[in-house]
Structure formats: C-alpha cells, structure tokens
Symmetry: C2
Amino acid sequence: MKVSIKLADLTTDGILSAACPSRIVLDHVTSKWGVLVLVALSEQSLRWGELRRMVEGVSEKMLAQTLKVLEQDGFVLRVAQPTIPPRVDYSLTDRGRELTDRLLPLMEWITANAGEILA
Amino acid sequence: MKVSIKLADLTTDGILSAACPSRIVLDHVTSKWGVLVLVALSEQSLRWGELRRMVEGVSEKMLAQTLKVLEQDGFVLRVAQPTIPPRVDYSLTDRGRELTDRLLPLMEWITANAGEILA
DNA sequence: GAAGGTACCCACTTCTAGGTAAGCTGGTGG
DNA sequence: CCACCAGCTTACCTAGAAGTGGGTACCTTC
C-alpha cells in the first residue's frame, strides 16, 4: 500500500520525468566517485589523504570535485584546520547519513553478487 | 554488529578497491539511464515503446544500449513475440527485483528530498 | 500504392566526465 | 637554501558517453 503510493509518485511526477530536480541529485550521488566517497565516509570521518588512498583509483582532481558537489548538496561536512601543514577532515552530515543508510544495503548487495552477475 | 562486519568487507576488499568486479556492476546500475529503467520496470513489465515514453528524455539508442546491458547482467528479461508488428516485453528477473528492492528506497528518498537539497 | 505502426540498428557527430601533470602555499627538517 | 609535507587549483587533452538522423522489416489500414 505505502509502497504503491510511493511508486506512483516516482513514476508519474518523480524521477522519471525529465524536469524533476531529483534527476540532478541522482546524477551527483550516482556519479562515478560520489558513491564510493559516500561509502568510505559512512564508516568514519576521513582526511583528504586518507580518502584519496581509500577510494582506489580516484584522481586528486576528481576527489576535490566530487567532495565539492557533495558538500554543496549538504551530504558532507568539510572541516579545515588552519594549521601548517593543513589538515582537513571530511565527515557525513545528518543528511548524508540518511542517504548512506539507503545506499549501503544496495552497495552490499552489489558487492556480494557482482561475481555471479558478471559470470 | 552485522552492519560493521559488512562495512568492513565493503571498505577493505569491497567496492573501494579498484580491481573489484563490483565496480563494473556499479557502473552498469548507476549509469545515467540504468537506474531509471529499473525504476520504471519495478512497477510493472513494459513494452519498448512504453519504456521510451515513461523514461522521459531517453533516446532510442541509449534505451537499447541500457536494456542490453541490464539484460546481460540478468536484471531484465526480454520477451519478443514474433508477431507483426513486433511486440517486445521487458520485465525484471528475480535478480532484478532483488536489486530494485534496494534501489527504490534510495530513489524515494532522493525524490522526496531533492528540492530541499538543491535549495 | 502510399502511409504508418513497432522495435530496433548503424554511421556520424558532439559533448562532457574524467585523466594527466604541473604549480602553489608556507612553515619545517636536512 | 632546497626539498618536502598536505591539500588543493589550474590548464590541457582524450576516450567514451550520449545525441542525431537515417534505414530496415513486415504487415495493416486508408
């Protein structure tokens, strides 16, 4: 019941309609590195360098760009300490945690089934 | 407890490692049109033309390409009736349904919060 | 006999996400 | 005095994602 109502919303004026703002957020979240950064931060807050090492394969440019978008959308909090050398910590906001609560089950399932799927 | 174990898997040898096959499946699922096609099919099975109209903005080429990938990954079932004019029905497989079970909560949340996020 | 409906495929072009590599800051250790 | 740390920024370039416009098959209806 509840599900069918939500589905109706999704498929009528929801994410399937081209003009819906959710398309933009969807692009941000499902961007190549967006998901991975969110997953990495879901475990604990991390510094720039830790993130870079953790999310294997990400370039500095793309990490910076991805973090900027996620920060603008209010998913990620950036805390810079004006020390030398600089130290910047990234963590999830409450909104970010709401997102990852829904993202992690998906990622876990994909990780668990990827082998079988590609076979 | 359960969660922390799963998270450990994800962040050590899981999706964050560059060589993990889950990266490939992730790209398929989170491709621009992949998500939307899966959402559309989650409600009911649809014919080619219905899908095209439902997923606003998708071109024929991209719809065909997306469906081919989702079919190869075993998420979508393609049933062609050799009638004239041709009729092709697309539906979710069991595996596809497992996926959308985890995908829909995310999409619903994004759709519900997109306005606030972009503000 | 002309037009249209359905589900595509292919060649060509465009665009943009993403990769690469360099530079910048300003103290601190050699 | 030079290199080095961390955390970026910038300019440049390319591969592949995506759009465009055509064609195809076969039968039905006008």
